[in-house]
């Protein structure tokens, strides 16, 4: 006998057809109520963690992906002073990855009337080599440039925030990103990283912006759903260098756990934060970390002398002539 079609799930608030079912919250919502819920939850996180106020200027790091564009959209909808920062990494991967990403950001701005502020830093133009080129020229990541990419992005984000007087630097990290990092660091017992991970990182140095992750409570699929419901077009293809990344493998493993126990990812992360904030987990380690100032760029570094960014990029610039096509406009870091 054929199965009778099931009655579609209904929104908890209005009985319209639900567009998303969040099992970890036992909550199904229609499009408009889902958007409202995302806004309320983000506002709650911002206030609870004292991330920023409406008087402060926020710099949102946008990559053209779903999370960062969703974050920018949410902050604008909530009435925060949010500007964007796009870092052109020069990654092609046969799909013009970086160009495509920049195009989605332009589209996002155009859809909102075009009067948003976007800072653009093209790595090859400013530092003399794209990320894949620099990885070839430096000791860092000849096979995979991810570590150099992260190092460079962190430096540029700090620099732009400082130069333009932003109080806060906001990134679109979602719960799956955070949980994958926590899981990886726990497997390694990387205590130094476990000490610092969280939705709010106060400035470690004078003149630096504090770093915040207002989407840290949302699952990755919720952010993708938000982008779809809000009509935000985003770069769907993965970064060509992310293939086989450990963080993706960890996310898949954690999703298997989530399928068996809805809410497992959320509880793992929130209970970690609670253990640290309320029970002093890793507190002694936190007190031991001493930071120094890089004599070249002025940003903090864990060792005395030049920071890893300046050391790496000086090396790249010494060797940049070896590249077949050297971009113009190289500046010292």
């Amino acid at each position: 006998m054929p199965k009778r079609p099931r009655r579609p799930l209904r929104c908890r608030h209005c009985d319209q057809k639900a567009v998303i079912n969040m099992r970890q919250h036992k909550l199904a919502l229609c499009g408009p109520h889902f958007v409202e819920w995302v806004h309320k939850q983000t506002e709650r996180s911002i206030k609870k963690w004292r991330m920023f106020t409406r008087d402060e200027r926020v710099l949102v790091a946008v990559s053209g992906g779903k999370d960062s564009l969703a974050l920018w959209d949410i902050l604008l909808e909530l009435g925060y002073q949010a500007d964007g920062l796009y870092i052109g990494l020069g990654i092609d991967g046969g799909v013009h990855y970086s160009d495509q990403s920049h195009e989605y950001i332009r589209q996002f701005i155009a859809q909102r009337g075009g009067d948003l502020t976007l800072h653009v830093v093209d790595v090859a133009e400013v530092y003399g080599a794209s990320i894949p080129q620099a990885a070839q020229l430096s000791r860092r990541g000849r096979a995979k440039p991810c570590s150099l990419c992260g190092l460079t992005k962190r430096h540029i984000m700090n620099r732009i925030a400082r130069e333009h007087g932003y109080h806060v630097l906001a990134t679109g990290h979602n719960l799956d990103d955070e949980v994958a990092v926590l899981f990886g660091n726990t497997l390694q017992w990387a205590v130094g990283y476990l000490t610092r991970q969280g939705p709010l990182l106060p400035p470690s140095h004078p003149g630096l912006a504090r770093k915040v992750k207002p989407l840290f409570r949302f699952y990755e699929r919720e952010m993708a759903a938000y982008a779809i419901v809000r009509g935000i077009e985003y770069v769907y293809d993965e970064c060509p260098f992310a293939e086989g990344a450990t963080s993706i493998r960890h996310k898949e493993l954690l999703n298997q756990l989530e399928a068996q126990s809805p809410g497992a990812k959320l509880h793992f992360y929130l209970n970690f934060l609670r253990a640290r904030e309320e029970h002093g987990l890793f507190q002694t380690v936190q007190e031991q970390i001493e930071l120094h100032t890089c004599p070249t760029c002025g940003q903090p570094t864990t060792n005395e002398g030049q920071c890893a960014f300046c050391r790496t990029w000086e090396r790249v610039q010494e060797r940049v002539g070896a590249l077949p096509h050297t971009p113009q406009g190289a500046n010292a870091p």
Partner: protein, 75 residues
Amino acid sequence: MTDNNTSPPPDNAVTVIYRKQTFTVRPGITVEEAIRACGLDPVAILATRDGKLVTEEVTLRPGDTLKLLATISGG
């Protein structure tokens, strides 16, 4: 479930598109069952029908086209 990249689907079948692959599943199953039939994990997938999000328990009708979106990203 059949991988449909080479032959057109029957008229009453449900077409499932995921990245550059096209699959055919039978009508009457749920979105969740269709996702699993394609070898994917529903926890990390969103489904749209006619450009609109649909939840996992929705029953697929003959001739439906379901587009699946992977939500895992990172590096």
